[in-house]
């Protein structure tokens, strides 16, 4: 008998993540710790018995945030602040601000003064690839661990840390298996569903997430690939909060086979290796994986990573989806674009706000790219 998949579980949580979290808190009494970026060391929070989740910027209209941030700023940061100020995060106990980009750093300051919750800053180094920055980062994580222990009067044991590292590694492996399955046979799961799965995992109880993910992977592995010839698209950029994009692409006989987004592969890329020093082990995953352009390793690194993905996943075209006013990406784009032209890979770049719908201008450009492939 054909087994039904459990996609609806992920869809529901991704649609109403805060409702899920509110319920989870009621049921388990767990301390809810929001994170503003994928540089949050979730393993430390899990080992302390806390529940880490990603703050998504669910607000669709901003009125409160714009009293603190200008309208020509990152819509994701404005949206997170709106979520905080509007009371949508009324279940929130604490927030972690990894100092990734300028906007998140300033958000941390504004948040501290205006939203009631415990506050942690993780002071990331500007560059992550030097020996000095690596040893500094290990110390930063050690300090973060100590701050969490003091704030919640808990001791984070090495045994618990090892357990949470193993759990997060299993989750990352499952998510990456899911992506690989889709790259091989795109028709087994829709693009918007895949995004919903990653988004849901970012907020779910991690053990529950593992169970549900395992079940989903098992069902999808049974599906037979149809071998249909569709154009293969890679989405590169910051975040994609527009499930419509996947429908537009899929309606044009094309499919998104991979991404390097903060709302996608960057969440699960790279595993934490076994090391004696657990803080060093956690730090190393962050410094070895593909980095956010806000933590610069030079455009060459970004380009090499993109080239590797294009070849590995037989990509026909790249759709750059950048958040408006996200400067780190805009600085890299002209050089990346030149390299793609040399490779003969087609691309377009669209800029958008997190909360806005896809308009006809953007649709025209995406349609045209797909029509000329």
């Amino acid at each position: 008998m054909k087994k039904e998949n459990n996609l609806q579980v992920f869809r529901d949580i991704a649609r109403e993540p805060y409702a899920y979290l509110r319920q989870l808190k009621q049921k388990t009494g767990k301390v809810m710790v929001g994170s503003t970026c994928t540089y949050t060391p979730e393993e430390i929070l899990l080992a302390a018995g806390l529940h880490p989740f990603r703050i998504f910027a669910q607000s669709k209209e901003f009125s409160l945030a714009d009293a603190h941030l200008q309208a020509y700023g990152c819509s994701m940061v404005r949206g997170m602040l709106e979520d905080g100020l509007s009371g949508d995060l009324d279940f929130l106990d604490a927030v972690v601000f990894p100092h990734a980009c300028d906007s998140i750093q300033r958000l941390s300051d504004i948040w501290r003064l205006n939203v009631k919750s415990l506050h942690f800053d993780v002071l990331l180094p500007v560059k992550l690839d030097s020996e000095l920055s690596k040893s500094y980062f290990v110390k930063v994580l050690g300090r973060f661990k100590k701050e969490v222990e003091e704030a919640f009067s808990v001791e984070i044991s090495d045994a618990n840390l090892r357990k949470s590292i193993a759990l997060m590694n299993r989750l990352r492996t499952l998510l990456s298996t899911l992506y690989e399955l889709r790259s091989q046979s795109p028709e087994i799961i829709g693009g918007s569903d895949l995004t919903a799965v990653v988004k849901a995992v970012m907020v779910m109880d991690k053990e529950e997430a593992e169970k549900q993910l395992q079940a989903l992977v098992d069902v999808l592995k049974q599906k037979q690939p149809s071998g249909s010839a569709k154009k293969r698209i890679l989405i590169s950029g910051s975040v994609c909060s527009h499930p419509d994009i996947y429908h537009i692409i899929e309606n044009k006989n094309a499919v998104v086979v991979w991404d390097d987004l903060c709302s996608g592969t960057r969440y699960f890329e790279g595993l934490i290796e076994q090391e004696e020093d657990l803080m060093a082990a956690i730090a190393h995953r962050f410094t070895e994986r593909y980095v956010c352009p806000a933590k610069h390793l030079g455009v060459k690194f970004q380009m090499e990573n993109l080239k590797k993905l294009i070849l590995e996943h037989r990509v026909d075209a790249v759709l750059f989806m950048l958040l408006k006013f996200c400067e780190p990406f805009s600085f890299d784009f002209p050089d990346i674009k030149n390299e793609l032209e040399k490779m003969g890979v087609r691309y377009i770049m669209v800029e958008m706000d997190q909360h806005n719908k896809i308009d006809e201008q953007m649709r025209t450009r995406i349609d045209t790219l797909l029509e000329i492939l």
């Binding site: 669209v350 006809e360 201008q361 025209t364 349609d367 045209t368 029509e371 000329i372």
Partner: protein, 255 residues
């Protein structure tokens, strides 16, 4: 075989009826608030002009912003592809098309078969579009159709640095207050729109010869400013506004 190309833009709806590779009739009406209604009205008027019935049309392709609303079309194709095809039909030697419409501007690079090789489109706002010229013509108390000619009469074009329609308008008010003359200000406005287009042309990489399509191609001031800045002739055709609709009708004929 008779085919119909409909280009439902942001401001105007254009239609072309094509019979065996020849333009039967062309027609244009304002879109207003309901793009589907505009398309139906446009079709009625087209059929009346051509003295044919709807059933005589074998295939319809819709393009333009309103294309996805036209559910009776056999196919929808983006206007970038259609403009490319339409201009290639009219001017086969053209490799770069500058298309300035009501609310966006595009630069399209064609290969020698008229296929789109690359394109770039403005995405921020009304800067560098027909709408910008509309607002500025009103500020200069001129009808839009005479606005380009007024620009040609400017001897020392005023400097306008804002690309934003709203800010540029207040900049112009300051120039008026300073007593700069209308021709020079108008000439400055045309140069400012041309500068914006030129940056797009450079981004995508110009391949001569260059042509202009879309409604703004009717403005001699913009053509003149573009020629000066690009240092190359910018060719246009009286059918420039119908490039998209013509391309759609041609694509309908192909498939």
């Amino acid at each position: 075989m008779i085919t119909l190309g409909l280009d439902i833009g942001s401001l105007t709806a254009k239609g072309v009826l094509l019979k065996e590779g020849q333009i039967l009739v062309k027609h244009l009406i304002p879109v207003g608030y309901n793009s589907k209604k505009a398309a139906l009205l446009l079709m009625d008027e087209l059929f009346e002009k051509a003295k044919i019935k709807q059933t005589d049309v074998q295939k319809t392709v819709a393009t333009g912003y309103g294309r996805n609303n036209i559910d009776f079309a056999d196919k929808t194709v983006s206007e970038i592809i259609c403009h490319g095809r339409g201009i290639h039909f009219l001017l086969p030697e053209i490799r770069t098309i500058i298309d300035i419409g009501g609310q966006d501007s595009k630069v399209i690079i064609l290969d020698d078969k008229g296929n789109v090789a690359n394109f770039v489109m403005n995405d921020k706002c009304a800067a560098g579009t027909g709408r910008f010229l509309d607002v500025m013509a009103r500020a200069m108390e001129t009808e839009i159709q005479y606005f380009g000619e007024l620009a040609l009469r400017g001897k020392n074009p005023s400097k306008i640095s804002s690309v934003c329609t709203v800010f540029a308008e207040s900049e112009i008010i300051s120039l008026v207050a300073k007593g700069e003359n209308r021709e020079d200000i108008t000439s400055g406005i045309h140069l400012s729109i041309a500068r914006r287009i030129v940056s797009m042309v450079k981004r995508v990489g110009m391949k001569p010869p260059v042509a202009m399509s879309g409604g703004v191609a009717l403005n001699v001031g913009v053509i003149d400013a573009l020629q000066k800045l690009l240092e190359t002739p910018v060719i246009t055709t009286p059918l420039a506004q119908y490039g998209g609709a013509l391309g759609a009708a041609l694509l309908a004929e192909e498939k």
